[in-house]
Symmetry: C2
Amino acid sequence: MQKHQEVIRERKKREKDQRIQGILAAAKKVFFSKGYLRTTMDEIAFEAEISKPTIYQYFRTKDELYSALMLPFLEEFGSQFEKIEKKLDARRYTNGKALVKDFFRAFLKSYEVSPDSLRVANSFFQQSDLINELNADSRLTISTRGKYDFELARDLLEKAMDQGLLRKMSSYALSDIIWGLLLGITQVMDMKATRLTNTDKYLRTTLAEAEKLLASAIVPR
Amino acid sequence: MQKHQEVIRERKKREKDQRIQGILAAAKKVFFSKGYLRTTMDEIAFEAEISKPTIYQYFRTKDELYSALMLPFLEEFGSQFEKIEKKLDARRYTNGKALVKDFFRAFLKSYEVSPDSLRVANSFFQQSDLINELNADSRLTISTRGKYDFELARDLLEKAMDQGLLRKMSSYALSDIIWGLLLGITQVMDMKATRLTNTDKYLRTTLAEAEKLLASAIVPR
DNA sequence: TCATATTATTTACTGTCAGTAGTTATTTTA
DNA sequence: TAAAATAACTACTGACAGTAAATAATATGA
């Protein structure tokens, strides 16, 4: 029976996905509470209620597991950008300020969807070792996805310049500046987080200020 | 004989310093060529031509040794800022653009003094794994120094606003934005570093562009 | 429905490395 | 020149990432 096998294969896939999700959830919990270095694979296994080698069936290394956690953020980010691009293609922006606003909003929204993913991403970039220690595959996944977001953003900016919404300049440089600004600010906030009580609100107002500054610099008068 | 002992004590201190410098030099070489995770204390010891326990006589942990490497960067940064502050106090800035330029130059110069130190600093500024694993003493040293630089920068901006060199706005927000921008951009560059050949030059031009943008946004017309 | 094949999971291990205990060598003191 | 103090070393321990080999669970097919 052809169909029966297929059904079983699908159920197996579902179960496999569930296992993976379970591992990811456990990993997230432990990594996020203890940090990368202090987290042991044994503890993640304990939290996921499975044995350690089972984790290794699904993730080749500790780093690969760690890096898998930041994919949701990158994906959310990409889909936000795709929306902006559509709006841009439909010529629905009448001025650059609105575009800049959407850009920042996209970032903030992705941050809201999974704030810890961003933090994971941050510590990832900061511990520049980690990315280098990844095996080729997962580095490719991460960097492919990251690259896609990166290029989408740059593409967006270029289009906006063509439409006269933004001042003409190197889209590469501008894109790097904006990314740097966004990532950097969240990091500075994180670093203050121990001292500060209402980080989230402060992040928001600082980002709003940054948005204003950026708009005043890149929107033609 | 009082004086004789003193001379000997001084020579001992010198020798101790030399040993420490030797360890630091070896550590720098290995850490920066292999990254934190891939570096072993045995290898540092080998490079420093001593045994491993000797390192532990001077540095309590691997992290403490690692963190000691970033102090020069923080200090260089601070001293650059102090120069700017003196210039500001002497009313030697005629416009905000020159101040912004000096600000960026200070950053770039510190980066040049020890580019890898900045990367180290990045991971420490934030409450990363590493800083939590430090013993209390060295954590205090690092974070005190970092905080000092931070506050000096904010102070600088405030003074500049008072002198009408910069537009009036929250010096806290602006300081966070600028730090975020600088740290973020270097990180974005790091991320690209694997793909890019001439990172250093690209960092420079991107920072120059960021400087222009920032100046046009915060210098009153 | 039972033997066989396949896949998932586990127990029990290995190798590496940060950090240390206890010993030996070197220098200072008196 | 013997005793005290300091500095460095050899040889270890414990923790942990990752794995080999065994076992359990599930699917297949007569």
